[in-house]
Symmetry: C2
Subunit: 202 residues, 2 copies
Amino acid sequence: MEGHRERKKVRTRRALLEAAVRLFGEQGYEQTTIAEIAAAADVAPRTFFAYFASKEDVLFLHAEDRWQVMLDVIAGRKPGEPLGDLLSRMFEALVRSLAGDDELDFALSPLRTRLMFTEPALRARGLTLMLEGQPLLAEALCEVYPELDPVAAGAAVGSFMGALAVAGLVAQQQGGSNEDVLASGRRGIEIAVNGLSSLDGS
Amino acid sequence: MEGHRERKKVRTRRALLEAAVRLFGEQGYEQTTIAEIAAAADVAPRTFFAYFASKEDVLFLHAEDRWQVMLDVIAGRKPGEPLGDLLSRMFEALVRSLAGDDELDFALSPLRTRLMFTEPALRARGLTLMLEGQPLLAEALCEVYPELDPVAAGAAVGSFMGALAVAGLVAQQQGGSNEDVLASGRRGIEIAVNGLSSLDGS
DNA sequence: TGCGAAATTGCAACCTATGCATAAACGCAG
DNA sequence: CTGCGTTTATGCATAGGTTGCAATTTCGCA
């Protein structure tokens, strides 16, 4: 990791990232071209693709890390811990990990969230990442809950994430603050855990 | 709707659709270019965009119809019908509507499903449509279940759709047939309705 | 038959993305 | 400190999706 070479790579990556984040925030995602980002980072346009596979990738750098955080929580299931408790813990760990990033990542997160609500391309990408990670969580669940078959585990993960996402989405569409969205996500989780039938008599 | 002009438009649209479906099936989605589709339909490449906003759009023609089917079921809630029953009916109505299309649409549906599992661009588009429709369902649910607030309705819809989708996805990844995927989707629904906590003691 | 609207088309341009070859930068051994 | 091999950066060319604009054709209707 030391060596002039490695440090320069890190610096270039960061320069591209900072330039992209700044320009996306200033003038929007679609309006910002790869050429502009490269110019702002003082590299050739072609070089951008040596660091990021696509324009969208800039905003979804740490997706795998997020999944890893969740996988770790699942792997650390406490003996006899109910599924709902484990998944709630998983969500809280995810929120914590989002808040614990360094400054640049920290700036990235709200920007990404904001752009995902407005830029179709980014929403699509985010959804894809979200879907593709869920079978991994399901597999991990099967490991620690031997009584679960893969389909049931998938349903559990999907129900959990879906409730979380759409509850948050609705809250956001109603003009809620970030805290409102978060709180709504928690409510969604609760509903998924208790089951939709629990909504009937309330 | 009569008139030479209108009939020709319909015929051209259909020619483009048939050409696209055939070529997508024969040589894959990415490998098929707009130019090829237009050539097969005997129109200029530029004309393609007079009928479809994008290449992906060819495969997602009736998305709004599907949502309408589901909205209709929700609007027709039977007095006192539990939420879970209603949503299950909604799912079955959706499956029926997919099977009840004319031949071309009928050919479209399995192709779209297959391609959505292999072509990232199409998966992304399908997910976007799926997400965007869910607040509509949630809103409709609020109408017929006055005790539901918007966030709870969103959570219900998200939990339902998420469980359905991921259970089906897992089944598909395990090499299941279309019937297996469908059956797994139903199981996912059941799990969402009963709640994740119901999975603990089973 | 001829006018006006709508559809089709060709053309140019922009952007993302990729492959390939070359040049530059770098670390290391001699 | 100097040359060598490897990485890294870059330039060039190209493919393909998408849009805007203007010209042209087609069609309905008076």
